[in-house]
């Protein structure tokens, strides 16, 4: 196994230009598990941890720019993230436990593309934009467009995530919802994980709703049909019931070691109901 240790972003992009098959290493919470299982023998690994440009959280006028090497602990502690993106702060506090949160990074979490990643529902409802760079240039991808399947992204060979931009939710949503359902309260992979934002009009009809679910499809899903259905409607037993059915039609959960498809269908609908009917926070 060969380890490359670039000291800057241009050096890192050059290293990937020369070794497009190399594996990027950030916090190591997933990569090191592969190494410990002997799956990285003979591979090239590029350690990104010395790239200063990809660290730090910058709060701007319209949103924040989070460097790809920012850890889950740094996100949780940052006052602007806590105030503007509470769902992301909550998700970061439930990823593994503190030792994992201290190492795992937002860029690594996205690049790893686990269908069960806990930061994904918040990033999906806040409509984050992922900035990727390669030696040939840069491009911005809407968050949902990053993912191609379980553990697969649409990032091109030699392309690395340099930052995630998250726009402030304006006007402020009336309701913000996050819930992770796992076997244990902490240090457990999600059976289902959900985030939602809700805006109401003066006449109490839904102005906009955004709801995203993880661990119930090959990639993170927004409940677009349910969101469209609810626009302009009041939240009644009937409209909520119909929207729950639409959520069920948009997901494709499977039976696996952590849960069953039937359980995930039921829980996904119930999480959506809880989001729509819980007391506003």
């Amino acid at each position: 196994m060969t380890l490359l240790r670039p000291r800057s972003a241009p050096e890192a992009l050059e290293a990937f230009e020369k070794n497009p098959g190399a594996l990027p290493l950030a916090g190591g919470t997933d990569v090191m598990v592969l190494w410990n299982m002997g799956l990285l023998n003979g591979k090239s690994v590029v350690d990104l941890s010395r790239i200063g440009e990809w660290r730090g959280i910058k709060a701007g006028k319209d949103g924040v720019r989070v460097g790809s090497l920012v850890t889950h602990t740094e996100l949780q502690r940052h006052p602007v993230i806590r105030r503007e993106f509470p769902l992301l702060a909550q998700a970061c506090a439930l990823i593994g436990a503190i030792a994992i949160q201290n190492r795992g990074t937002i860029g690594g979490n996205i690049a790893n593309a686990s269908p069960a990643a806990d930061t994904f529902p918040p990033l999906a409802v806040y409509e984050a934009v992922v900035h990727a760079a390669s030696s040939r240039g840069r491009r911005a991808l809407p968050f949902l467009d990053v993912f191609a399947g379980p553990k697969k992204t649409h990032l091109r060979p030699g392309e690395l995530i340099e930052a995630v931009e998250i726009p402030y939710a304006r006007p402020r949503p009336a309701r913000a919802y996050f819930r992770k359902v796992g076997t244990r309260a902490a240090q457990a992979l999600s059976k289902t994980v959900a985030a939602g934002l809700l805006w109401l009009s003066r006449d109490k009809t839904v102005a906009e709703s955004r709801f995203a679910l993880g661990s119930v499809a090959p990639t993170i899903r927004r409940a677009r049909k349910a969101e469209d259905y609810l626009r302009g409607r009041k939240l009644t037993a009937e409209s909520v019931g119909r929207a729950m059915e639409l959520v069920g039609a948009e997901i494709a959960p499977i039976d696996d070691v952590r849960s069953t498809a039937a359980y995930r269908f039921a829980v996904s609908k119930n999480l959506f109901k809880e989001f729509l009917t819980c007391r506003p926070r």
């Binding site: 196994m1 380890l3 240790r5 290493l25 190591g28 919470t29 090191m32 598990v33 190494w35 410990n36 299982m37 690994v45 350690d47 941890s49 602990t73 593994g96 436990a97 503190i98 030792a99 994992i100 201290n102 190492r103 309260a185 902490a186 240090q187």
Partner: protein
């Protein structure tokens, strides 16, 4: 490459992808840090990196270059145990002992940063440290005992 381990400058000339836990145990002969699962689930290998708890089985030593590592060996002298270790002894927080160094290092981070001694907060910070013997209650009691002693000075003897 150079790193600081338990306050001493150490250098390591082996493979840069060797895991921190293996460098600590095999090269520096600090065998207090234990390996449980080797995949970041159990927390047995927890050490402090620049004061923050991390799983030493998930860190290639290259990523610890120039940084400060603290292991369980740093908490006691040959004469005297640290406040957490005393509390674990008094409250029966250790049984087989494999999880104990990791538990104590996570608790040490919590103690040092002024963490709450509320049982819920203690359980939350220890969530990534698994124990298969104690059922956790004695561990939580031990950590609370140590946290409540913080105002009375580290050197005070336990009755």
């Amino acid at each position: 490459m150079n790193l600081t381990v338990n306050g001493k400058k150490r250098s390591f000339g082996g493979a840069p992808f060797k895991r921190l836990i293996d460098v600590l145990r095999e090269d520096f002969r600090l065998t207090g840090t234990k390996e449980g699962c080797g995949e970041g689930e159990c927390g047995a290998c927890t050490v402090l990196l620049d004061g923050e708890p991390v799983n030493s089985c998930l860190i290639p030593v290259a990523q610890a270059e120039g940084r400060r590592v603290e292991t369980i060996e740093s908490l006691a002298s040959s004469q005297k145990l640290g406040v957490l270790q005393e509390a674990f002894l008094k409250r029966g927080g250790a049984q087989c002992g494999i999880c104990t160094p990791g538990m104590v290092m996570t608790a040490e981070y919590w103690r040092r940063t002024g963490g709450s001694s509320e049982p819920g907060a203690v359980r939350n910070v220890l969530a990534g440290n698994l124990c298969r013997c104690t059922g956790y209650q004695h561990i939580v009691d031990s950590v609370i005992e140590a946290l409540q002693r913080k105002g009375k000075g580290k050197r005070e003897k336990f009755e």
